[in-house]
Symmetry: C2
Subunit: 629 residues, 2 copies
């Protein structure tokens, strides 16, 4: 095990979603120690989450809770949707982080009733999975491929740990531990060999270990990591890679199969590394991180190129129109990146910048301005004639038959404060830039750090210190900013991408947020000949609704040699680019002897809006990647 | 009903797969009237089919036939694979066309045993679907969405009609008519309203009408066309468009959903037009033809852009790597195009050229050189790291769990002769160019027409007449040939794309087969910046195995300004193009401030082979569309 950089003076707070010990070189902060200003986009997400999304989830869970009652014979409710137990658990977790963040008690009665119901449904053995319990014909742990029992346990544990950390309330923890203990008896060391078709319990079990100090939960998680990829799951028509059972975790160098499963699995594998210091696991994670983020990630921070099996594709298989880009995959990747950042084995900058990209784009786009409608899939292009599909509708929907995404958004957004900064023992590292007030850990001098910024609308970040002594700060400088100014003078970040300073009173940093044209790797066939528009961490798109009625979006050719101009207000700036329009043609294929195509004509200025805002005016055709002349 | 062009002297032959009356302006020829030379590619396909594929199918049908025996209590065989009854029927149909073509009796014993078995399994009601009969819990016609009962009937009818036409053998026809009569009683006029989740029975019922003269089979087919698109089928998670139930057939202007279903449906709808002259149906078919072939067809003559639901995508959604391009979809499209050609409402040239493209590319690629291994999906690109998938393996497989494609190939190839020429009453129209001997219909003078050609290896076609009087000929001039020579002099086809001549003794035509660079419509995002290589009707591809080991296929940039050179032997000519190699890069996305990418270097000559031959040397990475510099 490597020597942790974090000295004994740095204690891991309890109210944070991943509270590692062991090999972690970064310590997270308490979610209440980082207070995001609702005037900024991350703070606004939290406010909307608190004001609308969490209660919308609670209101939508009636059928799921009725199905719990069906197990008790108190209801004859029909099956409410795929793995709906976990929608309940994720919503509880969101409520818990909201309690941690604000101390709210407004949902305590709902918690009382819901947790009481879950506890009543729990069998004496500890088992609680309504999909199995409601059907007398179903056996426990008989269908590890499809029944999602340990997956349900994972979300139950996460909710229970969050609630105990947030409110010191352990009734759900008692339920979760009883179920975890059952799984440990059945599948722990000395028990049956089996893993769940949907990884998720691994990261949860490590957190349960951290929270309770019970080593056997860590051992069980490690065993599940070790047993995956050994063919214990019966491969169906989607193949063993669907649930990452095609090769052992330590040997895999590429991410594959169902994207959400892979990314939760990797959060869990990284958690096991964080507690055990097992380098073979970390090396596999490094290789898989490169696979996921350097060859298989959409520009918006989304994952999963295929609808059929909700899966990663091959390297550079990144179609914009058929991007599955499930909201939960991005959320799972936030979890994984955060744990890789905490490990500190490589520079935190890549992980933090990935999380930032994800939050400002794929996550932000997945929920509407009111906080009550959601995208499940987040494609980077909507063709004008594409039919609306169940999990990839043309417009955001209030709920889904498989409703994993909405409550997953709710729990992530409620815990956002945790991802802003870490304590490395000898400095406070700022990873996400957002208007916030941060409690400085006592061993770094205590007091508060005020971060005042309109980022990412503006690149200026004013840091002010309220407390004693110099505060050693490491501030991430985004890779897209060609320079950074510190109090007006050009400054240079260290090789790890962080600018280090000792803050006495006030300092101002400025990043360069000039909009930029982005191109994709030449092997990304779906993106060849196209450019995207980015400004800071924000990816832009063009919607049909912003074009003249006679100009089809798909006939635009933008002038990527011309500058990108600002347009509209500064809060969510619109951008303007020059473009021409290709004449329409009826030939699907043509050869030179068919004559040259007429050149693009009809120059016009085209408005681009943040990808996060697309679809706000109906299911209008949309493109992130624009053909370039 | 329009006035048929075909005079009473032209009688529709019985031994042909679609024998229309009514509104048809073209009459097909008897399959034995067109004898393809095995030295040419179409004739060679037939020889291989006769020598290997049909018997391979028969040998692979053991489990399917055992399942028939299971219904009789003579076996406890497990379910043999999806809708395996139809694999049996399609194989019988292939045997039938082979009897029609050659008079072979070698498979008569297998036919006796198999037809006897089917007849024994048939219930007194006429019902015969093993998937339902083998399970006491299943009810007849209770799951029109998924049980494929009428789909099975369709293939049963087609096999039965073919066998009666080919060999005058009507035992299977008795079985088929009894099942058809049952469906007519249950779902015919006055009966229940219902359509099958998988269209296919419509085209078969029209043929049964043609063969028996029983009008009620035509009425039943027309009723099923009329009832589709009215929400009679319960839409599952794939939506109503999956089985073309989202809008009435006459109102649909775009093809949508499961490609095989749509294309069989359209063959049936066109068949209904051919017998009724219903123009509203034909106008819908014209619009849908344009949708399928001008906006949704792969260059190889394949259909279906999506794996998830085996479906057409949106317009111009044509990813090469994820092309599903199911073999059966191309076969169904051959059926549809042939019926549109027979209708004669628009020029035959587009339909014939489509069929030619399909036969020489998607169909030819779907079977290996030995005739015993098959592709189910026919992508236009294989990425180096793509995992092998169940229905889209990296290499051709001998059989599939859903084995629809191999016997479908067998029946199509056995009937290929029927697609070469038609009789319009006052001329013989040559649609497919192939070395062959053709019996001239008596009212056109009788005798034979000899077509001698190495096409498509060579563009010269020598026509010689053995018979009395001038033969009025209409010869299709391919749209890709910039000129045509008739006996050495430049000649001009008529506006319909056919060159007309009166052949007394001999004439020679020559098409220009110079290889050409092909580009795709600018809205086809997956193909932007790329070129394909075509020569005559043959699409080419480049395989990794033909490149130096240190040159990744996906890093090639071809010089589309340079000529395409011939290379290798004349039979299946290889082509050679100039290319450069892009340096590898680890950046998935980059902006201008990251600096220019180094330019392509390392010039080399790259070999291209016919797409039909790809994968013959292992599952090597492959591309049809090549990035162009």
């Amino acid at each position: 095990m490597p020597e942790p950089l974090v000295p004994a003076t740095a204690t891991t707070p309890s109210r944070t979603p991943a509270a590692p010990g062991g090999a972690a070189r970064h310590r997270p902060l308490d979610v209440r120690a980082v207070r995001l200003n609702p005037a900024g986009p991350l703070g606004a997400m939290q406010e909307r989450n608190a004001a609308a999304t969490i209660d919308h989830c609670i209101a939508s869970l009636g059928p799921a809770l009725d199905y719990f009652r069906r197990v008790l014979g108190e209801s004859d409710a029909p099956y409410p949707g795929f793995v709906a137990d976990t929608d309940v658990y994720k919503t509880i977790e969101a409520v818990a982080w909201e309690i941690a963040r604000t101390g709210t008690t407004s949902r305590d009665a709902w918690l009382d009733e819901t947790i009481g119901l879950i506890a009543r449904v729990q069998e004496p053995s500890g088992y609680v999975v309504t999909w199995v319990q409601a059907d007398p014909a179903k056996e426990r742990f008989a269908d590890l491929e499809g029944a999602h029992e340990m997956y349900a346990l994972g979300h139950l544990i996460q909710a229970a740990v969050a609630l105990d950390r947030a409110a010191g309330r352990d009734d759900l923890l008692t339920v979760a531990r009883a179920f975890a203990d059952l799984v440990d008896r059945e599948f722990g060391p000395g028990g049956k060999e089996g893993v769940c078709g949907h990884p998720e319990v691994e990261t949860a079990l490590v957190e349960l270990y951290r929270h309770t100090g019970e080593r056997r939960y860590l051992d069980l998680a490690a065993r599940m990591i070790d047993l995956r990829g050994r063919g214990l799951l019966k491969a169906g028509h989607l193949g063993a890679s669907y649930f990452q059972d095609h090769e052992p975790v330590r040997e895999a160098r590429a991410v594959a199969g169902h994207a959400v499963r892979q990314l939760y699995l990797n959060a869990g594998a990284t958690d096991v590394y964080l507690e055990t210091g097992d380098r073979t696991l970390l090396e596999a994670m490094h290789a898989q991180w490169d696979s996921a983020h350097r060859r298989k990630m959409y520009l918006t921070g989304a994952f999963g190129s295929r609808h059929r099996d909700e899966a990663f594709g091959a390297d550079y298989e990144l179609p914009s129109d058929r991007a599955y880009a499930e909201t939960c995959a991005t959320i799972a990747d936030v979890h994984w990146n955060w744990r890789m950042l905490l490990a500190g084995d490589r520079s935190a900058a890549d992980y933090a910048e990935t999380i930032e990209r994800e939050l400002h784009n794929a996550v932000a786009a997945a929920v509407d301005a009111a906080g009550t409608r959601f995208f499940y899939a987040n494609p980077l292009q909507l063709r004008p004639d594409r039919l609306s599909e169940e999990q990839a509708p043309r417009e955001r929907r209030p709920w889904y038959w498989c409703a994993c995404c909405p409550p997953n958004l709710a729990r992530l957004i409620a815990q956002l404060g945790a991802y802003v900064a870490t304590d490395t023992g000898d400095e406070l590292a700022l990873h996400l830039h957002a208007d916030a007030e941060i409690d400085v850990p006592p061993h770094l001098g205590g007091g508060t750090l005020r971060v005042a910024t309109a980022y990412p609308a503006d690149g200026e970040i004013r840091l002010s210190r309220n407390g004693s002594g110099d505060l050693p700060l490491a501030v991430r400088v985004p890779s897209w900013s060609p320079r950074v100014l510190l109090d007006g003078a050009e400054a240079a970040p260290d090789a790890d991408g962080y600018l280090r300073l000792r803050l006495t009173a006030e300092s101002t940093l400025a990043f360069d947020l000039a909009p930029r044209w982005t191109r994709a790797h030449h092997r990304a066939d779906a993106l060849r000949g196209c450019v995207a528009i980015e400004r800071g961490p924000v990816v832009y798109c063009v919607e049909q609704v912003d074009l003249p009625g006679d100009v089809p979006l798909d006939d635009l050719v933008v002038d990527a040699g011309a500058p990108i101009e600002a347009s509209g207000d500064a809060g969510a700036p619109r951008l303007a680019v020059r473009a021409a329009v290709r004449p329409s043609s009826s030939d699907l294929y043509r050869s030179p002897r068919d004559g040259d195509e007429p050149p693009p004509s009809e120059r016009l200025t085209v408005t681009a809006i943040p990808f996060a805002d697309w679809g706000g005016r109906g299911g209008s055709a949309m493109r992130v990647w624009l053909p370039a002349g």
